[in-house]
Amino acid sequence: MMDYESLIPSAVREMKPSGIRRFFDLVGGREDVISLTIGEPDFVTPWHIRVAGIESLERGRTYYTSNSGTPELREAIAGYLARRFGAHYDAKTQIMVTVGGSEAIDLTFRALLSPGDEVIIPQPAFVCYGPLATLAGGTPVYVETKERDRFKLTPEALRAALTPRTKLLVLPYPNNPTGAILTREELAALAAVLEGTNVLVLSDEIYGELTYGRTHASCAAVPGLAERTILVSGFSKAFAMTGWRLGYLAAPAPLFPQILKIHQYAIMCAPTTAQFAAVEAMQNGDGDVEMMRTEYNRRRRYLTAGLRAIGIDCFEAEGAFYVFPNISRFGMTSETFCARLLNEHGVAIVPGNAFGDCGEGFARISYAYSVEHISRALDRIEKFTSSLA
């Protein structure tokens, strides 16, 4: 008789399942639900990008690529980062193509963390940073960001969290779930706090193309941050390519070979078909991104105005495709609010505490949905909140 339980290392056993999953397991499956929970684009990958993938298969491009990705794609990424965000990297010695942004995050933690190293993680944030940092031997240090600061990491909060053990600062902006962004000036202020330290920055810029009203400011283009930044991004959100599983990492040249070793042994290379499609996305995809960004922006305005009109305070999100309204005035926990909304009115949204304890009192609502869909959900949410008044 196998004792499987005893075989699992405590670091893995103690890893908590994602709070999003836990919530939905709790409330169970339901028919006739209008969901506003999804964290991926509702658009299909633009046709010309799909065609590039198909053509690569027709030509029999089915072999491994070099470990860090095809030279064409790395060159295309370098060109794109410079053109869009003013971030300058050498394609050969600084850019590697990964299996989604997620792999790039995992690689960074595994390559850089020693036992006891502290990783500063602003919250609310996407759920993967803490568990992956812990698994790599690091110690997550969560820093609460506040609605009154527009959910931005402030220089004061960063200074207070720094210790001699701090190895890495995670900057998850544009932010999932809050929709917060950091401007160039705000990044410069964080850079000033880090000046003279040996702290690295893991900048997760997966939503970098989805900002509204101003162009995303990349850490990799800010003096004082660029030289300490590991930039992580990918194709999923900007080009509606989630299922292709393709991301990339750009790092200071001295760190790059160390990170690449892990990718070489664990992954070999990112999927070849996806890499061929991604070259097309980088070279000819600006128009698609612009179209999708415009559409998301309409929905963002629609959803924010709609929530405010029914009396739900909603912070003005400036990036990604989520809003993070404050539901604390209804006098119940986020989980109770979301569970009741789902059970009594058939609308699914994600309780804010799934993104860290400080998300309590908020909920994440995705607008990767049509306006008609959002409109139907708003009608039901209004029925719910007016029943509480």
């Binding site: 999804i38 509702d42 709609g306």
Partner: protein
């Protein structure tokens, strides 16, 4: 302003209030903009896109290439008017290339379309030749794919 037009072109059934919410403008402001577009004939009308094959209505459509002799002083306009005044004519374009006018026509039956060409279109003075192409199947019209039933295949989380 162009963004409002694009939204209307895509879905004219959105209410003024919804349009205002999407564009960050007041409902009254949207109403005024639309009224101005209508008055200036920038917006010419609102129509639904219907897949008639899913109904019991019989209909065929055809593209007719028309060659004509332009009239002195008035060019193609007078002849175009003679053609587009027929209610069967859905669209009429002046084209570059091997023929002059492209006529999109809809009728109940092929016979009806043939009758229109033979009895109404071809006899018009200055029409030199016609060439009729029947539409066998509509795959996509005005940006909308026919028959496609979009299903959200994304996992909930």
């Amino acid at each position: 302003m162009n963004e409002l037009l694009k939204l209307l072109e895509d879905n004219a059934r959105l209410s003024d209030e919804q349009l205002g919410m999407m564009l960050g403008k007041e409902t009254g402001e949207i109403r005024e903009m639309i009224e101005r577009f209508e008055a200036e004939r920038v917006v010419l009308g609102y129509k639904a896109i219907i897949d008639w094959d899913k109904t019991d209505k019989e209909s065929v459509s055809a593209l007719i290439e028309v060659k004509i002799t332009p009239q002195r002083d008035r060019g193609f306009d007078r002849i175009a008017e003679k053609i587009y005044n027929y209610p069967e004519v859905e669209s009429l374009y002046l084209m570059s290339g091997a023929f002059d006018l492209a006529v999109m026509i809809e009728g109940k039956t092929m016979k009806e379309v043939a009758y229109f060409v033979a009895m109404k279109l071809a006899p018009i003075e200055d029409v030199i030749a016609t060439s009729t192409h029947f539409v066998l199947r509509k795959y996509k019209d005005k940006g909308v794919v026919y028959g496609a039933d979009p299903v959200d295949e994304r996992l909930t989380f």
